[in-house]
């Protein structure tokens, strides 16, 4: 294999990591508060707002139900407005982030749901404000479940980013399609797949390690 090929693969790997990294970070920053909102605004919860909860739930479900490939194409005008182009890794990061936000939110909500209601009750009995309950009790106590959720998100983003590559997003998916599929180069295709597998394996191991490290149960 030529050094040009190796360079291509390296560049594609970095591009994928870039897309997954950007969309992972932004979707966590936005998905975490959304997930917490989904949880605390439920009926009989600490900030019960059933109507708001219902509305947030619907928006989240819409985000979750649109197939990624359709979402990517559908929001092209929005992507152009945001990053000035609809191709390349920056452009691909936009739909990746949009798709991941509701995904993260539901996983965070699920992690919070696993906590014993007694913890909230104890905090309330101590005179904790809702904000204190969220920051000092809910999020720290759910951190294992939250890390697990974020790991799942990263792994999902890796596979979505490969899909984004198919429509000119760049990264390993793009490389696989253009060189491996269109130019009938099975070596490239194989290497692309192997790199993706190693990447997913790496994220999963990192996530498992962090969960183990923070687990006190």
């Amino acid at each position: 294999m030529s050094s040009a090929m190796i360079e291509l693969i390296l560049q594609a790997t970095l591009d994928t990591l870039y897309m997954v990294g950007i969309s992972g970070v932004i979707s966590t920053l936005l998905g975490l508060p959304l997930g917490v909102m989904l949880y605390v605004t439920r009926p009989r919860q600490i900030l019960a707002k059933p109507l708001l909860n219902h509305a947030l739930g619907i928006v989240t479900n819409i985000g979750r139900s649109i197939p990624f490939i359709i979402l990517m194409v559908a929001i092209i005008p929005f992507t152009r407005m945001l990053v000035g182009t609809s191709i390349g890794i920056n452009a691909a990061s936009v739909p990746l982030t949009i798709a991941a936000i509701p995904f993260v939110a539901r996983l965070i909500e699920g992690a919070l749901n696993e906590l014993s209601p007694g913890l909230i009750e104890a905090a309330q009995a101590m005179g904790a404000t809702p904000w204190q309950i969220i920051t000092k009790v809910l999020i720290p106590e759910a951190r294992g479940g939250i890390i697990t959720g974020l790991t799942i998100t990263l792994v999902t983003l890796v596979s979505y980013s490969a899909m984004a590559g198919a429509v000119g997003g760049g990264g390993l998916g793009d490389l696989g399609i253009r060189y491996g599929y269109n130019r009938f180069n099975p070596t490239i295709m194989l290497i692309t797949v192997v790199v993706l597998v190693v990447m997913v394996q790496g994220f999963q191991s990192l996530g498992d390690y962090l969960v183990r490290k923070t687990d006190r149960k």
């Binding site: 104890a122 009995a125 101590m126 005179g127 404000t129 000092k136 720290p140 006190r216």
Partner: protein
Amino acid sequence: MIELNNVSKTYGAGHDAVHALKGVNLAIPKGAIHGVIGLSGAGKSTLIRCVNLLERPTQGTVTVDGQEITRLSNTALNQARHRIGMIFQHFNLLTTRNVFDNVALPLELMGQPRRDIRERVSPLLEMVGLSDKADQFPAQLSGGQKQRVAIARALASNPRVLLCDEATSALDPQTTSSILELLRDINHQLGITILLITHEMEVVKSICHRVGLISNGELVEDAEVGDFFTAPRTQLGRDFLNDFLQLSPPKELLERLSDNLDANAHPVVRLTFSGDAVSTPLISRLARDCGVDVSILQAKVESIQERTLGLMIAELLGTSEQTQAAMDYLADHQLQVEVLGYVQRND
């Protein structure tokens, strides 16, 4: 210190409405240990949660330390809750914080500086006997140790009142008594008023001054512990007591018991005696003065705080005039006499 005035709590509305509490009145003086006992679903949990407004009463007022809790704004309520500690059946410790940080939590919530927190937490851990466990996590502790951490945490903000929600129900008998001892010490040393709810008579017997009996959302008895154990006024109270004393006639006797009172029948009676009656040799006098023989089937003496309570199930042997005279004699001497039934004479 704690006053509940006509407190009612209803969940739902219309046909589905559940009345968890119905017009409960309760006044607990400063420094008292007050128990509330009842079967599950009777409204105990709702009652104790109405004191710090984890449950807001549908009706009525709650006053703690002179402050009408039910009228406070959210901010003022959170302030008031710093003065009301609470411990739970399942401890509710934060699993991701070590023992020290769990006890420090209420102080952090109050915004106290780290140095003051350290000065406050260490003596609390010493008081509950866990100084050497400060760096451990709840998962590493036994149930009794977890409840000790919870007690230290509840006391961190220097409360006037401690609410105990089935605090010993998840613990074995030995651990239960050590936790109760700790609660008694706290009450004694800090003068803290304790309201506890439980379904265990043992808990009431060993540390409470007064006890309320709750049934179906209503407070049906409210008495000094000594009085409650010697003379419960309701059937439910008697059931609790008999269950606690485990005094009921042997099965083979129960099968022979009948309501038939004829010339050949002997009454089987349950005698409850307390106060002076305990130290009077009543049984031998019965034999001498009434000519009745007494066959003791079961007997038990319990010490309820400073009072002594005796219970006996006995068969009275004699003519029906003699046994009637004997029962009158016992009643005259402040004994409670309950005829369980009659057995036929075998001879």
